[in-house]
């Protein structure tokens, strides 16, 4: 029996691995997800075979819990608009972390964390799981714009954080010494179990304080980091429960979160530490308007329409954060179709951090109907610009800002790899104003009177107007 469950869990882990392997190509990805879900079903089924469930109390609680949670999960997964993906992932990550913390908590409560290995890993699981839970919930609130929007700072934040960490360490020591520490300092009221609850609470607070000072646009990195945390916590609880599906699955998730976090901060050209701890500092900065009214080549939809229709053969579209905000995917798709019906070649250049989370822009555009083989990433699109007649940049700035390559200036985007749109014949910006993007760095391309056309408008309306103009040109 023990061997059979072991094998079932091992098969589940193998299916997780196979599932992730298949995420390498869009063609196989969906079946990969199905395979991983199948692994989950095997793991759950195996569990039901090894436990004795009380049919009066246990069974309804488990069945009801799965049903309730499953329905909530499925309904939100079905209803969420694709632009709301970051907050949904944050929410699921949060409840996952919460689940892990609660499982570890009950191990302690039931006195099953007897060996030092079990108690240490269990404690670590509670702390990491709790941070992941409250941090993700804050991230969810920020992204859903329920609360804590922007960068929320308060005085002495770093000091408070340090004190909480210190407290957690002391309480943990007390728990692991079975209360001996508290007795030694004359606080016998601080039983191990009480210390555990306080630790749990402190970890929850720490998770909140960790995330609130970080701005909304950096949330994807935070979510990815918390995803890594939750994976690690799951792996740890795999140690305690001696469950290899948990151990292997959790480790894979931990690795995934770590890599994605690293890639994102790499694509942003900023080290991770700076992103997290600069939250507070950055909050002050914001828009320092140094307006000296420089001239730009302000054009109308008709100008763009006639240029596209008459003078261009190959068009590259670069969508950015503003496209997602304006929900302008459908008009963008229509523009593509219109251009193609006139025999133009249309490609899309997708920067790794365009949009609200990594790879998000791809999901948004495929949802609108753009075939994924038109979506080129950074390395593949850059050589294309040379023979491109027009680049249309919709609601993006940072990802095409040549200032990132300017070695003289030290800006927030210095060193970030960008889409080299300046190599194209013509550059067309569709955005509402001259205001810079998230990083707050002005774009010299705006002021290139010969190359650049600036079309100031909301992305959705603007794209519709351009499409009309192309048709009529």
């Amino acid at each position: 029996m023990q061997v059979l469950t072991f094998l079932a869990y091992l098969v589940a882990a193998a299916l997780f691995i196979t599932g992730i392997r298949r995420l390498r190509t869009p063609e196989t990805a969906r079946s990969g997800n199905t395979i991983a879900a199948f692994g989950m079903i095997i793991a759950l089924a195996a569990t039901f075979f090894v436990i004795d469930i009380d049919p009066v109390l246990g069974l309804p609680l488990i069945g009801g819990g799965i049903l309730l949670g499953g329905i909530i999960g499925a309904v939100s997964a079905q209803r969420v608009p694709m632009t709301g993906m970051p907050q949904l992932v944050a929410a699921f990550n949060g409840v996952g972390g919460g689940c892990i913390a609660l499982v570890a908590l009950s191990e302690f409560y039931q006195g099953r964390a007897e060996t030092w290995v079990a108690s240490t890993t269990g404690l670590l699981t509670i702390i990491i799981g709790a941070i992941s839970f409250s941090g993700s919930i804050v991230a969810f609130c920020k992204l859903q714009e329920i609360a804590f929007t922007g960068s929320v700072a308060f005085p002495l934040q770093q000091v408070v954080n340090a004190l909480i960490v210190l407290g957690i360490l002391l309480l943990s020591a007390n728990i692991l010494t079975d209360g001996a520490l508290a007795e030694a300092v004359g606080l016998p009221v601080l039983t191990p179990l009480l210390s555990l609850y306080i630790t749990l609470g402190a970890a929850l607070v720490l998770g909140i304080l960790f995330v609130i000072p970080i701005g909304g646009a950096d949330m994807p990195i935070v979510i990815s980091l918390l995803n890594a945390f939750t994976g690690l916590a799951a792996a740890l609880s795999g140690f305690v429960l001696e469950n290899y599906a948990l151990l292997i699955g959790g480790t894979l998730v931990g690795a995934s979160g770590t890599i994605l976090t690293r890639q994102m901060s790499g694509a942003l050209g900023r080290p991770l530490g700076k992103i997290i701890f600069a939250g507070i500092a950055a909050a002050g900065g914001g828009d320092d308007e140094d307006d000296e009214e420089r001239e730009v080549n302000d054009v109308s939809a008709e100008d763009i329409g006639s240029y596209l229709s008459e003078d261009s053969e190959k068009v590259v579209i670069v969508p950015g954060y503003g496209l997602a905000v304006a929900q302008a995917q459908a008009p963008l798709f229509e523009l593509m179709e219109t251009l193609e019906s006139q025999g133009k070649e249309v490609l899309f250049g997708i920067h790794p951090v365009a949009g609200r989370m990594p790879g998000h822009m791809n999901v948004l555009l495929t949802e609108a109907g753009v075939p994924y083989e038109k979506l080129y990433d950074l390395e593949d699109i850059n050589p294309e610009f040379e023979d491109t007649d027009a680049v249309i940049i919709v609601g993006a700035n940072d990802v095409v800002n040549p200032a990132a390559n300017d070695e003289e200036k030290d800006s927030p985007i210095s060193g970030m790899p960008i889409l080299e749109v300046e190599n194209a014949e013509r550059v067309i910006f569709v955005k509402r104003s001259l205001s810079p993007g998230f990083a707050g760095v002005d774009n010299p391309l705006f002021y290139d009177m010969d190359k650049t056309m600036m079309y100031f408008t909301d992305a959705k309306q603007g794209l519709q107007d351009i499409t009309e103009a192309v048709k009529n040109a």
């Binding site: 691995i17 990805a29 969906r30 793991a43 759950l44 999960g73 039931q110 939750t230 959790g250 894979l252």
Partner: protein, 101 residues
Amino acid sequence: METLLAQVAIFVVAAYLGFELISRVPNMLHTPLMSATNAIHGIVLVGAIIVIATANDAFTLVVGFIAVVFGAMNVVGGFWVTNRMLGMFRPPNPRVKKRKG
């Protein structure tokens, strides 16, 4: 003790494997990847079920119940939304992407 050491070895090898696997997922699929791995850590639902099954007091039952609800949300929602996203990634017409690299 020996089992613990073996588990540490599994952890190390699985971590290497994870890095290899993930680093081969293209940027285009990073959002689905994030939500799929997110669903995978919902495997802790297994632990939550065991908590209820072995509970012998009301507190543990309540904790276990919340954990089961959380875990089920994570698993079901995670796989569901990933499936929904990836459903969009079907090429409308079977063209092969050609690039000049």
